[in-house]
């Protein structure tokens, strides 16, 4: 991946919460946040909102990378998100990676999973729809 063409993957909010890009897997960013106080809900555990914030950020990051690789400039706006909280996330590093299930002209559908030490036992999953507002309309 060429460093100079990589888009900004984190919003003010994401950076402020301590979310970082851990690595890229097959060109898809894996995001993570450590077990800092800013994410804590029930003592010793992630707040569901912080888990969701990480997953949402992972979803946008995957879309930004995909759009950037396609050479397209676009603004992303949330339409909705549905989160399944599968197991309590402990106050420890939490990772999230998205899969783009549809990248259309006007909207995208993305699923995200968040995990801790056991990747095959996700702590939460989410699906989100995102509106894509392109800077330059395509030929179609």
């Amino acid at each position: 991946m060429a460093e100079q063409s990589r888009p900004d993957l984190l919003s003010n909010y994401a950076r402020s919460l301590g979310i970082e890009v851990a690595e890229f897997e097959d060109g898809v960013p894996v995001l993570w946040v450590s077990g800092i106080d800013a994410i804590e809900g029930r003592p010793g555990h992630f707040h569901g909102g912080a888990t969701s914030g990480l997953m949402e950020t992972a979803g946008y990051a995957a879309l930004r990378v995909a759009l950037s690789e396609a050479g397209q400039e676009a603004q992303l706006k949330p339409i909705n998100i549905t989160v399944q909280f599968l197991a309590a996330a402990k106050k420890a590093p939490l990772f999230a990676k998205a899969r783009i299930t549809k990248l259309g002209r006007r909207s995208a559908n993305v699923t995200i999973e968040a995990w801790q030490d056991q990747r095959d036992r996700p702590r939460a999953s989410a699906v989100m729809n995102v509106m894509i507002q392109r800077a330059t309309p395509e030929g179609a």
Binding site: D8, S11, N12, Y13, A14, R15, S16, L17, D37, A38, I39, E40, G41, R42, F46, H47, G48, G49, A50, S52, G53, E56, T57, Q75, K77, P78, I79, N80, I81, T82, V83, Q84, F85, A88
Partner: protein
Amino acid sequence: MEKQTSPRDPSARFDPKGAAQFLLSGGHPGWLGLTYRGHGDDWSELTLPWREDLVGDDVRRVIASGPIFSMLDMAGGMAIWTRENRFVAVATLDMRVDYQRPAGERADVIGRCECFRTTRSAAFVRGIAHDGDPDDPVATMAAVYMTIGNSGGGASRNG
């Protein structure tokens, strides 16, 4: 969301305003700066104050969707305790937020959630987020919470 018409003895009920002082003082809610705004028999209302480092849009100075989700999750939990009149350990099982429009630039966002049904092990919540006019919401939410630990059987209205 309906207004409450039958005032009851406030001392007999879970006090969201008092509880907010410790519920919202630390951790993620404290980091977000959530504050208590109001409550009724089965609803609670929180404020998410605008802050530069909560902005999510790269163009407009608008609060990101993540903090709004967090606030609604928190307001939903408080609505359950308000309705149950006591603190019950709950965990969010499933939550959906539809973002109708961006919040206003530099606008605080208000979250109001209502717990409309509880069973022995589950609580059902709906709510809205708005930036001044509840009839023009920024977002709507629906969620199911489960009681956890030893508190099963606590939510007693329906079995």
